[in-house]
Amino acid sequence: MAGVHVSTTVNGDDVEFVCPGSESLLDVLRNRLGLTGAKEGCGTGDCGACSVTVDGQLVCACLMLGAEVEGRQVQTVEGMAQGDQLHPLQRQFIENAALQCGICTPGFLMAAKALLDRNPDPTETEIRYALAGNLCRCTGYDKIVRAVSATAKELSQEATTKGSKKR
């Protein structure tokens, strides 16, 4: 198939690229835009290592065509930190030793962020089901679930403090 010209936004920056119509968003991110944070663990949507968001919706970049992101907002793990400030999830993953080899970590961070954005106070079960699309083979998920829990707690305390300051 012929190349498709695509204009889109990735991590807040305007980006243009040309890719074959059949090329996945994951290949576009990794091979054309140099964003190798999203990983290919399976290529079939079964491991979640390529998780990114498109218009706020969590997706597997391997199951989406590059051509589909025309005019959309793509967010990847590379856009998670604000300048030199790590996102609380990123910090909690380090502090809780929630990664060993780290290959699944970008996908988990994106999925965990999507969870906390829609449910700021998830139970352990809600966390486990929300992260079920992300495979980790090193940790047994124990410290990952704890890191997400700790982040939720941290963010809710922050919100309370901010709220009381406003008052």
Binding site: G37, E40, G43, C101, C104, L131, L135, K143
Partner: protein, 760 residues
């Protein structure tokens, strides 16, 4: 310089604390570079054509059409990989496994490879290669492969360790271990339990597929960026297979996205190098997930018979095991390892274990975390539970009564020094988990496990900057947080803050040879080399302080990160910190470094005991693990977070193996489930939190008492879960994985038997 490896019961300031890992920020921001994350100018994309047949003669390969396709820069077959192995059968097997030589030995065996300007062209080129196969009869089951009429996988193989014979066979090796007189022992037994078991083949399931970027020029120089557990071993092997000089091939280990033994072997890296050499361009070669399942190295499927006898008061009098392990298409030592580990937890007067290594038309078996031990433990620990039930004795008490201890002659031969099996069992006995109530359809099980652990060749370099910070280079790959542990050790020895140490994994041009990071050796061996390198640097620091003070180096001590002049005559000399000595180093003799090139031997054996609660839905056979506890001896936990992580990860892999993971082959000898949808590794919602208890019984052969911790945690789960499921469902499970259909079948068979008994 102190090179004493003996444990000294040193008091620690940093070791045992839990600082942030030094590679954390890279890994949470997506910056860390793994196997597939590197690229080079002018890089080509490699792709491999694989056999669709389990066993076939390759009559002809026609690559001419592929070579003519625009954008194709190199096509290779085995003809491009001449045999340079010089009679080394082990290396020949590796070469043949990387690329079929006249015969395809399993579904997925590589037969040709291409390098092209992009993935699409490479894919089209593969479709243009025509291979003329003559399909041969195949065998994939271990028991079927042992029958006298089975198709022969490797015609040159004769059984080692058995009766001498000149008949081709699939039994590559028979290994016998044990001592005493088992017949006499069984004669003394009041109770004997004998049972057969089976386990299916599983894969390590690392999330990162094999990937590399190879560059070789016509000058015979090359570079390889690769995800591996052992870049030095890869270098030596690739250089040897391709006829390159070891010094001219630089191998860099990328960040590794999981290995668990599967990345200790080369699978396709020599092909990437050969393609690059032929095209004279860099070649990136990445396996798909399907390739990983079909053509890297899973663990053995097994079939075994276990027999154990004991007296009425619970003392085991004799034990035997016959263990049949399949090695895939190339001879290995996996049955032998099963035989060595099977009874290692127990103090036995009469014991014999026999391991069979059997060839089948499946991919070459590779190490998987304490290779071979989990299956043997499943058979033995299930039988131990059955025997305890016959005796009406508590299963933990029965194990404690028979547990190996210091001075026990191990079933694989040597006599144990101080070991941790007894203490882990005591800890299990007293653990609240053992006394918690169980719900409806729930059952509890426990089991023990053993693994050897190794050391090996290891180098560490330690360079001290003029600001007093320390750049450390090690040669073992960091598979799960080792850089944090090794930085703690360096900081501890030098008496400086953890944050002042930066630990790097060196490429093969930076250090001498390091053995592969396997056998739970990373923290044990590089920890030892780091201690020696630091002590070496301290000697230099003391001599620089002596020069500064113009006194004899013998008169300088090293105390808490500072040089101190000894004796009252020097009491006017204030201490010199590491930073102060480093700052003056340009004028006291130049850069200050410490290094160690050593063989870290004497890794202590390791034991674990696990407790597991499961809930079984009797109508569907569905099983959920509801509580899990790991108790394991770590010798000394350097960074407890990552020790716990190893315990939890091993248990989780064991849970997957026990319940759902298996290679499923069709009648045609093709793998039916080469993907993460149907090869079901546990997802987050499948598991509970996994509790851990770290015991610290120092290894006498390590200055800090470290034992390896990476592997033993996968040994007990199969058995612990089988015991729990058997207690929950009221039927003994003898086939792993205990998938819902197998559990339902067992429940129904048991019910039918009861009906028969009550009717009779």
């Amino acid at each position: 310089m102190t090179l004493d490896t003996q444990f000294t019961d040193q008091k620690f300031k940093l070791v045992g604390s839990r600082p942030d890992r030094p590679d954390g920020v890279d890994k949470v921001t997506g910056r860390a570079r793994y196997g597939a994350d590197a690229s080079a100018p002018g890089q080509l994309v490699g792709a491999i054509l694989r056999s669709p047949h389990a066993h076939a003669k390759i009559k002809k390969i026609d690559t001419s059409k592929a070579e003519k396709l625009k954008g194709v820069k190199a096509v290779i077959t085995s003809a491009d990989l001449p045999d340079l192995t010089n009679g080394n059968r082990g290396n020949y097997d590796i070469l043949e496994n990387c690329m079929a030589r006249g015969r395809a030995l399993y579904d997925g065996h590589a037969v040709a490879a291409v390098a092209a300007i992009d993935a699409e062209t490479a894919r089209r080129a593969l479709s243009l290669i025509s291979v003329d196969y003559k399909v041969l009869p195949h065998v994939t089951d271990v028991d079927a492969a042992m029958r006298s009429n089975a198709p022969i996988v490797q015609p040159h193989v004769r059984t080692a360790g058995g009766e001498p014979s000149d008949k081709p066979t699939n039994i590559a090796q028979i290994s016998t271990f044990g001592h005493g007189d088992v017949e006499a022992g069984f004669a003394k037994a009041d109770k004997i339990v004998e049972k057969s078991y089976k386990t299916e083949q599983t894969h390590q399931g690392y999330i990162e597929p094999h990937a590399c970027l190879a560059t070789v020029g016509p000058d015979g120089q090359g570079e390889l960026w690769v995800t591996t557990q052992g870049h030095y071993t890869f270098r030596n092997l690739c250089a040897s297979l391709l006829g390159m000089d070891i010094a001219k091939l630089k191998v860099t280990s990328s960040e590794i996205g999981g290995g668990f033994g599967g990345k200790t072997h080369v699978w396709m890296e020599p092909l990437a190098l050969a393609l690059s050499r032929k095209a004279n361009r860099p070649v990136k070669l990445v396996m798909s997930r399907e390739d990983v399942f079909r053509a890297s190295g899973p663990t053995s499927s097994t079939s075994m018979d276990i027999k154990i006898g004991c007296t009425n008061d619970g003392r085991i009098t004799a034990a035997t095991a016959t263990l049949r392990y399949q090695d895939g298409a190339f001879p290995g030592i996996w049955g032998m390892l099963g035989a060595m580990t099977a009874f290692a937890c127990y103090d036995l007067e009469n014991v014999q274990s026999v391991g069979y290594d059997v060839l089948v038309n499946r991919p070459k078996v590779a190490a998987y975390r304490a290779p071979s031990a989990p299956m043997a433990a499943f058979g033995v620990e299930s039988t131990i539970d059955l025997l305890a039930a016959e005796l009406n004795m508590d299963a933990v008490e029965f194990r404690l009564l028979n547990a190996a201890k210091e001075g026990t002659k191990a079933s694989y031969g040597p006599t144990y020094g101080p070991i941790g099996i007894g203490p882990t069992l005591e800890a299990v006995k007293n653990h609240p988990h053992m006394h918690a109530p169980l719900g409806k359809n729930q059952g509890r099980g426990m089991a023990c496990g053993f693994w050897f652990n190794f050391g090996g060749q290891t180098c560490t370099d330690l360079n001290i900057g003029v600001d007093g910070t320390v750049n450390m280079t090690v040669g073992t790959v960091d598979v799960g947080g080792a850089r944090a542990s090794l930085s703690l050790i360096a900081a501890e020895e030098l008496g400086i803050p953890y944050e002042h140490v930066k630990c790097n994994i060196g490429d093969t041009a930076s250090l001498g040879h390091n053995d592969t990071t396997e056998g739970s050796r990373g923290t044990f061996s590089s920890g030892m080399a780091t201690i020696f390198a630091a002590r070496n640097a301290i000697e230099e620091l003391k001599s620089r302080a002596a020069k500064t003070w113009d006194i004899d180096p013998e008169e300088v001590d090293w105390v808490d990160g500072e040089a101190v002049a000894k004796g009252v005559e020097h009491s006017n000399l204030g201490p010199l910190s590491l930073a102060q000595i480093a700052k003056a180093s340009p004028n006291t003799g130049g850069p200050i470094a410490g290094h160690s090139e050593t063989v870290a031997d004497g890794a202590g054996v390791s034991f674990a005991s696990h407790i597991c609660d499961v809930e079984v839905d009797p109508e569907t056979g569905s099983t959920r693990v509801v509580r899990y506890t790991v108790v394991q001896d770590a010798g000394k936990a350097i960074h407890p977070d990552y020790v716990e992580g190893q315990f939890q990860g091993g248990a989780a892999q064991g849970i997957g193996w026990a319940l759902n993971e298996e290679y499923i082959y069709g009648e045609d000898g093709r793998l039916q489930n080469p993907g993460f949808l149907d090869y079901r590794i546990p997802v987050c919602s499948d598991l509970p939190f996994i509790d851990t208890e770290i015991l610290e019984i120092p290894n006498p052969n390590h200055p800090y008492g470290i034992r390896g911790v990476g592997e033993t945690s996968i040994v007990p789960p199969l058995a612990a879960i089988a015991n729990a499921v058997s207690n929950a469902a009221g039927v003994r499970m003898d086939h792993i994985p205990m998938s819902p259909p197998r559990i339902r079948k067992a429940i129904k068979a048991e019910a039918a038997m009861h009906q028969e008994v009550s009717a009779g």
